[in-house]
């Protein structure tokens, strides 16, 4: 009797747990109501054309940024950097004009100067990866996406646009001594600030014809 009661109670508990654990639906109905598959490529295209490109003119001039970072690091980061997380790695959308001093396998060396500062920079021309471009503008919000995979795919697609549309034309015509106007993203570590030998992940590169 005691054993039977134990089994009945156990079964009742199991039914209770199962009833409160799962629900059933027709798969067709679920699929029909589910969100359409996220098209990272289309999103990136629209973002690049309608949001990122118009924002490029607002990018901070690189020598101005570096000068500020040398005297007031916090101000430089607070005014000009963006990042998703709370870590020390932050991204800046920068622009400038410089003279090409070397064409390397993976990058182009540039000397950029304004009235008071001169900077030796590298513009990446081979490996355009990571989230620098996506995050430097601060225009995309993680909450717009239902998964981090979608969010990361946007980054990959934006990088692809740069690799396919910006770099080939530049690489085929740029030569030592040319002047270039560049806009791109740089990564700086707030804790361990290093302002030498910066690499710019380009967004736009225009050779200046008239010296």
């Amino acid at each position: 009797m005691k054993k039977t009661l134990k089994y009945i109670l156990g079964l009742a508990a199991l039914v209770f747990v199962a009833y409160n654990s799962v629900y059933f639906k027709k798969l067709d109905a679920v699929r029909a109501s589910a969100h359409k598959q996220f098209d990272a490529s289309a999103y990136a295209r629209k973002y690049y054309d309608t949001r990122l490109k118009p924002a490029l003119k607002n990018a901070v001039e690189i020598n101005q940024l570096l000068a500020l970072a040398r005297v007031d690091k916090e101000a430089a980061f607070n005014r000009h950097s963006h990042a998703l997380g709370i870590g020390n790695i932050r991204y800046f959308l920068v622009q400038g004009t410089g003279e090409i001093t070397g064409i390397n396998e993976n990058d182009v060396a540039v000397i950029s100067k304004n009235d008071s500062t001169q900077s030796a920079l590298k513009i990446a021309t081979e490996f355009v990866f990571g989230n620098a471009i996506r995050d430097a503008s601060g225009l995309i919000n993680l909450n717009e996406f239902s998964s981090t995979a979608d969010f990361n795919n946007v980054s990959a697609e934006v990088n692809k646009i740069v690799r396919n549309e910006v770099l080939p034309a530049f690489k085929s015509t740029a030569k030592k001594g040319d002047r270039v106007h560049f806009v791109g993203a740089i990564e700086l570590n707030r804790q361990h600030l290093k302002l030498d030998d910066l690499e710019i992940i380009p967004v736009a590169l225009n050779l200046i014809k008239d010296k």
Partner: protein, 326 residues
């Protein structure tokens, strides 16, 4: 209780070595950082250690039987991922045109059941095939990590909803929910070890397995139960982590097993089994948590943090060995 005299003072003090260590640790950190002794930081530390308390409670039971469970970090990751996956995506059965959705309750239960099964599998291979616990659980560590990658396809599973987030980030009666969960686990495990036959069997097996067998204790059954409990507690840890982050990370829980073992050892549980307590482990977990928190507040490099943690564990083991000889 033995009176404290000059002759037995070292022995009496040794009983409270973890508590004394914690006291001095807190004293030193509070002198060096004004942010340490604040209510917000206290809750922060308790929330952070709640996952380690879950895992190390299970680890204590395993270590008391003279075993070890290296798989808890991977089990944590897999159970967290499965919980998140079931909650977010459910199960699709195209052949039956059926979608099985899981409630928050259902997905949590599924994660815990999976953890229990993985733990039981550890116990099964150890007892049935006489595989050393180190090797058996190392194998499950790898298997569970691989299954996590397969289940998640290498991507985090995010956006799990506010109801699920309550488990890891909510407050109940002014106390964070993860702290409540770990407190209940500690209480149950303490009662298990002190008030139930299973608890006595665990100590007996760790103290002398042959003697325990001769006295009629069903060694295999007890060991399988202990590993199953450790798996279930790792799963609960995984659910808390997933809920806190609102995301199941495929690489969650890496090296968590080492933190759990550290908490167990620092808490005074002997790695050779048969001696130790759940409350000691809680103290060990608090020491590890306070140490981690203090090193961060003092702006110590993460690389040095690992060195310091390693040294603390080493000292704890040396003290344990010295106590064992006495």
């Amino acid at each position: 209780m033995q009176a404290l005299t000059l002759a037995n003072a070292p022995k009496q003090l040794a009983k409270f070595q973890s508590l004394i260590a914690l006291f001095f640790l807190c004293l030193v950190i509070s002198l060096l950082s004004d942010k340490f002794l604040t209510v917000a930081n206290g809750w922060n530390v308790l929330r952070q250690i709640s996952v380690n308390i879950c895992i190390s409670t299970g680890m204590t039971l395993v270590v008391l039987t003279a075993g070890i469970d290296l798989s808890v970090g991977s089990v944590l990751a897999l159970c967290g991922a499965v919980t998140a996956g079931l909650l977010k995506n459910g199960i699709e059965l195209p052949s039956a045109n059926l979608f099985i959705g899981f409630t928050v309750f259902g997905s949590i239960i599924s994660g815990i059941v999976l953890g229990t099964l993985l733990g039981w599998f550890n116990g099964f291979t150890i007892t049935r095939f006489k595989v050393p616990p180190f090797v058996a659980t190392l194998a499950v560590l790898t298997i569970a990590r691989g299954l996590t990658m397969l289940w998640t396809k290498g991507f985090p599973i995010s956006g799990l909803g506010s109801n699920f987030a309550y488990v890891g980030t909510g407050w109940l009666l002014g106390i964070p929910v993860p702290v409540w969960i770990s407190a209940v686990i500690v209480l149950l495990a303490h009662m298990l070890t002190r008030k139930t036959p299973l608890g006595r069997y665990i100590y007996a097996i760790g103290g002398n397995e042959s003697a325990a067998r001769l006295s009629g204790i069903r060694i295999n059954r007890v060991k399988m139960s202990v590993y199953a409990i450790a798996g279930a507690l790792a799963a609960i840890g995984g659910i808390i982590v997933t809920s806190r982050l609102d995301s199941a990370q495929p690489n969650a829980g890496i090296t968590y097993e080492l933190d759990a073992i550290a908490a167990v050892v620092i808490g005074g549980t002997s790695l050779s089994g048969g001696r130790g307590s759940i409350l000691g482990t809680v103290l060990g977990a608090i020491i590890i948590g306070v140490l981690n928190n203090g090193l961060v507040l003092l702006n110590v490099s993460p690389f040095w943090q690992q060195v310091v943690k390693g040294l603390v564990i080493l000292v704890a083991v040396i003290i344990d060995k010295a106590n064992s000889k006495e």
